[in-house]
Symmetry: C2
Subunit: 158 residues, 2 copies
DNA sequence: CATGATTGCTTGATCTGTCAATAATTGAAT
DNA sequence: ATTCAATTATTGACAGATCAAGCAATCATG
């Protein structure tokens, strides 16, 4: 079965150094941090925050926009929207110009939560960037772009 | 309600540039790619592969080791182990030296799947690294380290 | 060697994320 | 105008991830 041949290859020992492993871990840790902060500060979930933030900043005004900007699954957006409406943080409408799309607006209460939470998330972002030195700060977004594009290919030279 | 004050702040427009947003997207894309490849090549799930790979390379020999290396939840490992055993890819035992731990070994069939899959995952890793230039390749792991450590803090200067 | 604390794993409950199917609306083309 | 395709949102089903509770084995301490 030639078990030894693969196991003793020193390169295999570095499996935990694979990029995808590291990305998973960073992602998990970032998520856990955000969840903790959001729960403590505003009692909302991470997905709820992402939606609130998109609307609150004006980055998106419809469910469709949120999908395009964030790549959050439309199903998730639909359910989160419903939850936020029931919690009284968000109001929706179907514009006459296109009655398929769902337009969203923060309620006063939603706006308040957004404005209360944003500084925390901004500080958090700053703390993450501060953990990197100047060169790294300059280069990180470019790297993430390239990786995302590369990972979109299904035909990586097979 | 001072809605405009926040919305018109140009910095708020860059919310999609937040590090965590980008990491989420890279993570999602990488996952989707891996899932597609693993399903096509070996008919296994991503978590199953991660476990198989840890055992196959000798990076880990027990469930505990896998937990420490990968930060996969012990519950997940327990369930995946069971699934892999039932599929005949993995065998387990409780060593006399410490009867709490679960020692794992690939069956011949598991070993075959591991060896068949590894080249694909290696090529994939290489394709990702090739998408970066030399400077970026040199710096990326350090960045991920720093981010992971920074994200582990719950007290980012509030 | 008895007790309490820790470690390793398992199970159940729950939530998130993803995918496929469907409905409703709009757009395009004949 | 009518038909076909594309877009947008919703729903249901299911796998993945996370958390808490609990059990069994081991370790540390006196």
């Amino acid at each position: 079965m030639s078990t030894g041949a693969v196991e003793t290859d020193p390169e295999n020992r570095e499996l935990t150094q694979f990029l995808s492993y590291r990305i998973v871990r960073v992602h998990q840790t970032l998520n856990a941090q955000a969840v903790a902060v959001l729960d403590a500060v505003a009692g909302i979930t991470l997905t709820q925050w992402r939606l609130i933030a998109m609307i609150g900043t004006g980055t998106a005004t419809t469910a469709r926009d949120v999908t395009r900007r964030t790549m959050i699954d439309p199903a998730m957006i639909s359910r989160t929207t419903k939850a936020l409406e029931e919690a009284g943080l968000l109001s929706t409408s179907r514009p006459d110009s296109d009655r398929r799309v769902v337009e969203m607006e923060l309620t006063p209460r939603g706006q308040e939560i957004f404005e209360r939470t944003l500084p925390f998330m901004r500080t958090r972002q700053q703390a993450l960037m501060d953990a990197l030195d100047e060169d790294e700060q300059a280069i990180i977004f470019g790297i993430l772009d390239k990786l995302e594009r590369a990972a979109d290919r299904r035909d990586f030279g097979q």
